[in-house]
């Protein structure tokens, strides 16, 4: 995964700073999408300037001297290597033989070997190991055959199989940035001073609030005076090098413009050292905003779910943990047959899925490829699909029959926090509503739970400030450990799983979650003096966990617990405790994850890692 940016100014100095600097700022906002190399291309009075290097933006800022370059239009790229290791030559932009065409690309061209061989046999010389470089040479080849730059670009796109969002400069057709999208996200931003192309909206929120979200198989260009969007009608992958321009339909972009009302500060760190800590502190607001908006939108979905034979919840990573909470609550409160599945595993269940099933697909970004593929599969079997996502108009939302949106605001930290609690709050609300609607949940109990849910943001707020100092202290202990267990029962299990995932992904400490009752069937073999075990106790299941704790302590485990206040056995059982306000067991997952998030965050900081940029992970996983 990578981040791309393209900018065309309406006049020189329209943004009263050098274009190179604007590109750098936008790329900085895209760094969460990848950060192993960076580069840009700007067309100035001296012609096409390309600068690129391996390394993070801040590391190479002086080497590339972004800020010194000015021009009217240019493209930039922050890379996350897929084909070709991170290196200066593999960094984007990639160019053709003549050095006139510069391409930045996010995604994977699956048939690039084939294209590359064909182009080499026609005399092209390749310099990098990237799949991207074929795009530049394809354009060059069609220009050689006599096509105009833009037609050559369109023709090149028809040959690409796989995922891509590309932005292309060709100095032979000055003033324009060509673009095309398939699967990988791409948006256009419009303001009086400039037009932007970007992998996401926060990249240019400082400059533009009016955006167009592009769809698959759309391509076109932006220039000082125009925005052209066309849709490819039929894609011809055959490489015949003929000169027939591809068939397209023109799209009136004016109908697609949306106004975004996020404030730009929301995409910045503000008074926090890391996005992750900021987003942890934004959780009460994320849940409050989400609850307000969904309470008006869910009636229709509740009715549909009441008719379902079975409700499957699917997701990857953190979203899968939200799916687990959702399925437990649907079973418990609404007596609905419900299961959670990991998105990439859905295909193995496909034979039993039919049109009586409803599938709720959960993805923060709405672009997670595993979840998208699963949705396509279950739709093919006739199931009704509902997207639960934080990004309006994301691919998942567009490809599902119905959508529910969390309102957590943009999440920049790679480790999901506020979007998780917003997902869990949404699913809790849904399960309570469905239980009430179907009569499995006493109507008084349903309205009690709903009013308690509306007070949850306040509880979260005090929980964060009471747990934060303790998490900072305990992180010093956790930082010395190499492995850790998280145990819980019922809703405490997905909470434990999410806690373990957070520690793994940002503090790089091995962590596993088990049902507390399962721990004695194998995992306990690893426990010896000082082995850390965290117990998640939400309320109702407290007594059941006591014996599991004693088993662990008998083997010398170092025990930590997240417990409700007033659980009097706490002091005797645990070495460290996070005591939280006691709330209904059904709603506890929204709040009781907080200490684990803080613990993972502070452990990462204590160990000297950057929690916003975990190694080997990226925000939207668009690679199968």
């Amino acid at each position: 995964m990578c981040g791309i940016i393209g900018i065309v100014l309406s006049s020189s100095k329209a943004l009263s700073k050098n274009l190179g600097r604007v590109i750098r700022e936008c790329l900085k906002n895209l760094e969460y999408r990848g950060y192993d190399s960076v580069g840009f291309a700007i067309v100035s009075s001296e012609g096409l300037i390309i600068r690129k290097s391996k390394g993070k933006i801040d590391e190479v800022v002086s080497k590339l001297s972004f800020d010194e370059f000015d021009g009217i239009y240019g493209v930039g790229h922050t890379r996350w290597a897929t084909h070709g290791r991170p290196s200066d030559v593999n960094a984007h932009p990639q160019t053709d033989c003549s050095g006139k065409v510069a391409v930045v690309h996010n995604g994977i061209i699956e048939n690039y070997m084939e294209l590359r061989d064909a182009l080499i046999s026609r005399g092209h010389e390749f310099r990098s190991e990237t799949d991207t470089e074929v795009i530049a040479h394809l354009i060059e080849e069609y220009k050689r055959l006599g096509m105009s730059s833009y037609d050559a670009f369109k023709k090149a796109v028809t040959h690409l199989r796989g995922s891509y969002a590309v932005a292309v400069i060709d100095v032979d057709d000055p003033g324009k940035i060509f673009f095309a999208r398939n699967t990988s996200p791409l948006v256009i931003g419009i303001s009086r001073e400039a037009k932007f192309l970007s992998s996401d909206i926060p990249a240019f929120l400082d400059y533009s609030r009016d955006v167009i979200v592009l769809n698959d198989d759309e391509l076109g260009y932006i220039s000082k005076d125009a925005i052209v969007i066309e849709k490819l009608v039929d894609k011809d992958l055959r490489l015949e090098f003929d000169r027939v321009p591809p068939k397209t339909e023109f799209i009136d972009y004016r109908l697609r413009v949306r106004h975004i009302d996020w404030t730009p500060e929301m995409a910045k760190k503000g008074g926090y050292p890391h996005f992750m800590l900021k987003e942890i502190h934004e959780q009460p607001r994320a849940v409050a905003d989400t609850l307000i908006s969904i309470s008006k939108e869910l009636d229709n979905i509740v009715k549909l779910l009441s008719k379902a034979d079975r409700v499957l919840l699917i997701g990857s990573g953190t979203s899968y943990h939200a799916a687990l909470v959702g399925s437990l609550l649907l079973n418990e409160l609404a007596y609905v047959k419900s299961h959670a599945l990991i998105s990439s595993e859905v295909r193995w269940f496909i034979n039993s899925i039919d049109d009586d099933d409803v599938v709720i697909a959960i993805s923060q970004s709405g672009e997670t490829i595993d979840t998208l593929l699963a949705v396509r599969d279950v739709r093919g079997k006739g199931a009704l699909t509902i997207a639960l996502t934080n990004v309006i108009d994301s691919t998942l939302a567009r490809e599902s029959h119905l959508s529910i949106y969390t309102r957590a605001g943009p999440e920049i930290g790679v480790a999901a926090t506020k979007t998780y609690v917003a997902q869990v709050a949404t699913l809790s609300y849904l399960a309570i509503s469905l239980g009430g609607y179907m009569g499995t949940l006493d109507s008084n109990k349903a309205s009690e739970l709903k009013s308690e849910l509306s007070l949850i943001p306040e509880v979260m707020s005090t929980t964060i400030s009471t747990c934060e100092p303790r998490a900072r202290v305990i992180s010093g202990v956790i930082g010395t450990k190499h492995s850790m267990y998280y145990l819980g029962r019922g809703l405490g299990l997905p909470t434990s799983m999410e806690g373990a995932l957070k520690l793994k992904e940002i503090a790089y400490i091995h962590a596993e979650a088990y049902p507390a009752g399962e721990s004695k069937h194998g995992p306990i073999a690893l426990v010896d003096e000082g082995f850390p075990v965290a117990f998640t106790v939400l309320g109702d299941e407290a007594e059941l966990i006591v014996s599991n704790v004693e088993e662990m302590k008998a083997r010398g485990a170092w025990t930590l617990a997240v417990v409700p206040k007033g659980f009097e056995k706490s002091v005797k059982l645990f070495d460290y405790i996070f005591e939280l306000r006691r709330i209904s067991y059904e709603l506890a997952p929204i709040v009781y994850i907080i200490p684990y998030q803080l613990l993972a965050y502070y452990t990462a900081v204590t160990l000297g890692y950057d929690p916003d940029k975990p190694r080997n992970l990226a925000k939207t996983v668009t690679v199968v």
Binding site: E265, K268, K269, G270, G271, Y272, P273, H274, L277, H281, P284, R285, P457, E458, M460, S461, T462, S465, T466, E468, P469, R470, A471, R472, V473, I474, S475, G476, V477, G479, T480, Y601, Y602, V605, T606, L607
Partner: protein, 384 residues
């Protein structure tokens, strides 16, 4: 924003023995005084217009000279006493957007950048807070879900659940300065201001040391030496051929390390330090300029201020020694603390993980006063 005010007046009751009445900001931590570390951090963030506020401005002349080429430093004489008066002494500067730093606070420079960034983002006064379990020593700040200050207590007498420690770094605005002039203390001013306007916090999650007690110097030494990655030995240092040197460490000019001595980093050895034969200088020790240690001494996790002399066969663990002190032979410090326990504290990634009971015990560690004379064979326990 390129201005900063640093309050360097405090002499600090908790470390008075060590400083001998000098400002705490002039205590040495790993080769530099506290105030130099603050200035270096500010310069890294591009804050070059720096005002120091002190009741003894002449003591800071050397520093203004040292930084003359790279920064614009002025020293203002503090009018009155206490934090409120110190702040108001620089009120002309602070009425414009300026980073205000208590000169006994050490943090990585990223914290300054964060506070400046928060001010630029919100356009409101900002104070930095730190999640600490026991806020009694620092001042308690209560915040709401939107990151606003809702209460501030400068000297809390009990632990306050859910409060953050005041981190000693802030950006004021003109109104806050005016409110401070009408108030008799900082917390009174904060309370009044909170009632009228929005006051934001910036939450710092990295290391942070407020130098109140000798133990805090050891904490700062630990954190700063932890960031050391390489071995830097001056070409003007002389190290005996039989000495064993294991990094990371810094050895400055004109250091003399004699035969059969073992240096085990991370550690720092300042200019003109002499280490006689058969000595062991172990982890997290900082020997400031001009220290002299005799043969067979052993040092571990200690901060030895300038011009201290340590006699032969002395064992100095977890100790802060004030400048120009003379320790005779066969002295043992932190004698009731096993070295293994100390190593455990260190290997638990320090200092953040120390339990509250142990922390209260360690708070004063072993400390030896400025210009003290410790006679041969003394045994010093923790807290003495």
């Amino acid at each position: 924003m390129d201005r900063a005010v640093v309050l360097v007046g405090g002499s600090g009751t908790g470390v008075r023995d060590i400083t001998g009445g000098m400002p705490k900001a002039l205590l040495k931590v790993v080769g530099k005084s506290v105030v130099e570390r603050v200035i270096d951090g500010l310069l890294t963030c591009g804050l070059k217009d720096i005002t120091l506020v002190s009741d003894q401005p002449s003591l800071f002349e050397d520093i203004t000279v040292k930084y003359g080429d790279v920064a614009d430093i002025q020293v203002i004489k503090q009018v009155g006493s206490g934090v409120r008066d110190a702040i108001l002494s620089a009120k002309d500067v602070l009425s414009k957007p300026t980073l205000l730093i208590y000169g006994d606070t050490l943090v990585p420079y990223e914290a300054y950048r964060m506070v400046v960034n928060a001010y630029l983002t919100y356009g409101k006064p900002v104070i930095m807070v730190v999640p600490e379990e026991d806020v009694r020593l620092y001042g308690a700040v209560s915040i709401d879900g939107e990151g606003r200050v809702v209460d501030f207590i400068e000297k809390p007498t009990t632990e306050i659940d859910g409060a953050y420690a005041y981190g000693g770094i802030a950006v004021y605005d003109k109104e806050l300065i005016e409110v401070l002039e009408e108030s008799s203390t900082v917390d009174e001013a904060f309370k009044r201001y909170i009632g009228r306007r929005v006051f934001k916090v910036a939450i710092w999650s990295g290391w942070w040391v407020d130098i109140g007690f000798p133990w805090d110097l050891l904490k700062a030494t630990y954190y700063i030496l932890s960031e050391l990655r390489d071995v830097r030995i001056s070409s003007k240092a002389s190290i005996a051929s039989t000495a064993v040197v294991k990094g990371p460490l810094i050895i400055e000019d004109d250091v003399e390390v004699d035969h059969y001595t073992v240096l085990k980093g991370p550690l720092y050895i300042g200019r003109n330090v002499t280490i006689e034969p058969h000595s062991l200088v172990d982890n997290y020790t900082s020997l400031e300029e001009g220290v002299y240690t005799e043969a067979y001494t052993e040092l571990f996790w200690s901060s030895i201020q300038p011009k201290v002399v340590i006699g032969h066969n002395s064992h100095i663990y977890l100790t802060v020694i004030g400048s120009e002190a003379v320790i005779e032979g066969n002295v043992i410090t932190s004698a009731d603390m096993r070295k293994n326990t100390l190593i455990n504290i260190l290997s638990s990634r320090g200092v953040a993980a120390i339990s509250k009971t142990l922390l209260n015990y360690l708070r004063r560690c072993s400390s030896i006063s400025h210009k003290a004379k410790i006679s041969a064979g003394s045994i010093i326990k923790i807290n003495e």
